[in-house]
Symmetry: C5
């Protein structure tokens, strides 16, 4: 009944390199002359023991070759820019079909739902169609469950809302949910419980001040049941991305 | 001409265990460490003589196995979170197709229509397509007919609006309607009459203060023509869910 | 070129029993313990010489059996509740397909267009698709042409607007239009002329104070070219529905 | 590459009898006891040497017989009523498919785009689909290009806006555009130039005070490159429609 | 994995003649008696060594003959008029399908996305479908990435927003992006980097005061990695379009 997650996990653990920030934030905010180049990211993903690299379809098309690349590809199926963040409740339209993702060599697909947004229902509905299509092809679905919008303003990091987001992922049929961590192990334990048989990975978030801080957080969430982490900026904004990848891998894998 | 309801009834009576609250309310409000786990609910449904267990598709996919589980599955085809309850008139988008529900082993499907909402027409239209698809496959359709929104504010529990909701279910082709009880047997008798050949089950609602109170209500609605009850919190929030299930079954079945 | 109307007429005249009020008004307003039951209505239609009975699909599914019932069935393909009448311009979404109606044994289909409403264009467009599908199957289409909304407020019963509504029915391809009567034979004569080869039946409207009043109106509209009447409340709210039906038939048929 | 216009032209010239006013204006404004009858219009079109008669699909279905009628049929594929003219920016929804028009015996199809309206883009998009379907069947497409709405208020008859409207017709793939005349030959010459290989016919507009006025206008637009005229009220509101038709034909044809 | 661009480039360089201004601006603003004629533009494109000419489908249908014309055709698949520029955030609806463009002889297709507009997401979604269809047929997709709307007002020409626009093109799967130049070589170098393997052509923009100014700009953008230019008004508004084309070609090609 359950989709096979072995292609995007190792020892049941997930370590994903996220690189879908270019569409959302633009290059100015997150990238430098090095990490603006998807080829560099792909190399980090390959050499850094990641169990998946996350691209929008355009980057996958032009950079990822399933015959050459060994790191599993996770195609993000929806997305938006953050340009109107101050004007609209967030909505992320579908930009790639399951069929297309499979053609690009995807081992899984990703989808964002902004929990609490005015367009939450629309995203839930569009996700449900994607989920069905992926299910039929035995392709795992990872749901980015992010609390956003006026209805949850100020409560985005509360135990209540994070657990609701995780549970929503389970109820909608996600195989994995990517959830922000609010810093409380006890809360995250409840989040993991709420997700039931849907696996939980922590969303890496913005770069922490120190590596130690980041690695500590990863340890914490793993200790209360998360199966891994989807991380971007804490890797490729690091001066030595392979070194921090190695340190991360030591924590994630046994 | 009429769909066969025998798979989700016993002696013409229905006793459904509802467990779609996680999506709507989130785990914080309704769940504890025990009942947050769908497996526990499934066990109650199996052992408690229920004639149906109600899940969203995600839970059905990961927990319900038609080869093993004996309690009939009712897949809820639409849903929403309650996060924007203070901001929007309620709308519940379709999240699962009839085809998908059948693939999950469903013996019936459920659908919510918020009667009186600004989006009432949209839900009626989407329901009508679902209804046709289910009809063609001889799959019973249970309609959650809930008065909501500014147009019926303060009248949600009136005889007039409840009867209108029940009648709307009949006119739209529902095989069964799930309707809240306003405490008046006389009113509910009229509700049942308005529904005609469409069967009526009482919506269990929030947990009552005492078991007796709940069981008394069930007796009352059965005495005026309802064929049963769809109950969640009054069962799985009870300290001894199997015991209350047994007591309920004694009332529902002859 | 023209659809055959003989299945829903006798001597070129139409006498339809309308029973789609339950969805719009709810049982409270229009029904009593007797006429809340569709079976009773069907009996009146059968015995009262009606050339058609008008049901929403849900009622047709559960009560009308084409193998047993002799009165022709007219399935109303769209509908709404009136709960938000004070809040929205009226819109009636499609709730049943032509295919479905044929499966239920329909001899014709009905469709409401609220002429003047903000959603007039949407209803015209949806109607045009229905009309094409029905045309291809030689199924007559009866259009409820009702002036409504801010744009025609206070003019709903004017010769100008009623004739526009009737003409719109012709231009859209309706085989018959159901139009309210404003009490002026001269105006209705113009309405009938505006409809051209599209036949006109009078909408029965709310119950008149006396039977004589109602029968007089029917005579009047027939005398200026209407082919009949679609009547509900003036029949089934009458103390002796079969008697008033007989009186009506004497006027409608020659 | 270009669609064959010979079915709706004579000597390269077009003289169309427009009769789609009943839907837009209603019978009250434009019609009398005679011209309210589509049969009368069809007779004028047949006997008056018109190279096309313009009907909405409903009128075509009930009055036009391709086996009997010789005047080519142009089916108007979209339309609206003018009832909400004071309330909404104009939008004209599609009401008939290309397939349906062909089934009715159409030699061409017509489509209105309200240039400058809030819904301009929607109409352009819907037109583009129609245009493709007609193109594939070698059916000419005549576009009613009418400046309307707040954005062009007061400039509807300017050289700038009329030329933009004509050009838009060319860019969208119309084979012919129907454009209002602002009284300046020099401006209309530019309009014709802007339309390039897309032919231009003048929109007849409301009835002029005298026949001479109307005929003078026709001469003027032909002299600067228009290929003809689509005229309604100046013909069928004339006391002797066949006489004015003959006079018109003398000017249009060589 | 990457679409072959050789049909619309020479020596890896692109020199496109843009002529989709008639729909957006109307003839009044941009055209004179000469350049209003698409035939003239086609001749300039043929003789001026352009590697592509950009038309809306209507112009392509009536003027471009793939059997005769040698300059590659780029069909612009969406478009709008600028009439409501002061009233709405910009949105450009799809007006031509990939299938249709191929039928017209297209060697590539073009699509506008107004980055920052309220309708950005809708355009991204519609583009993504087009992109998939074109990809499957190995047809290159050129994306016009134009910052517009309240969210980016005053920042349309900033390095940050232009680089975001270019990057969005890459993430969405465009093979080429057409981007305005803000006058800073350093900024454009970053823009080109942000676009990665997606090629960048400069948008020609409004006519510069002198030819030298225009040619200097072209040199500058090529020197920092752009592969060419899509230019309209600086060519066909020039008194001697073939001469300026020759001068441009000398810079673009090696």
């Amino acid at each position: 009944m359950q989709v096979d997650l072995s292609k995007i996990t190792k020892q049941g653990r997930a370590m994903f390199l996220a690189y879908d920030q270019g569409m959302e934030h633009g290059p100015e905010k997150d990238f430098d002359d090095e990490n603006v180049d998807p080829q560099k990211i792909l190399e980090i993903a390959e050499e850094g023991q990641f169990t998946g690299v996350i691209f929008q379809k355009g980057i996958a098309e032009k950079y990822y070759d399933p015959k050459i690349n060994k790191v599993p590809l996770i195609v993000k199926l929806n997305g938006k820019t953050g340009l109107r963040a101050d004007l609209d409740e967030p909505y992320s339209p579908p930009l790639c079909s399951v069929e297309e993702a499979i053609g690009l060599g995807a081992s899984a697909v990703g989808y964002t739902i902004y929990v609490g947004s005015q367009f939450e229902g629309k995203m839930m509905q569009e996700f449900s169609v994607i989920e069905q299509e992926a299910e039929e092809r035995n392709l795992p679905v990872v749901a980015w469950m992010y609390p956003r919008g006026q209805a949850v303003a100020g409560k985005e990091n509360s135990r209540e809302i994070l657990a609701h987001a995780a549970r929503l992922g389970l109820e909608l049929g996600a195989d994995m949910v990517k959830i922000p961590y609010n810093g409380s192990k006890k809360d995250f334990e409840w989040v993991v419980k709420a997700a039931g048989k849907t696996k939980v990975v922590m969303s890496g978030g913005p770069k922490t001040e120190t590596r130690e801080e980041f690695l500590k957080i990863v340890k914490d969430v793993l200790s209360v049941g998360a199966v891994g982490v989807a991380v971007g900026r804490n890797i490729w904004q690091d001066g030595e991305p392979l070194e921090i990848s190695r340190k991360l891998a030591k924590i994630v894998f046994l």
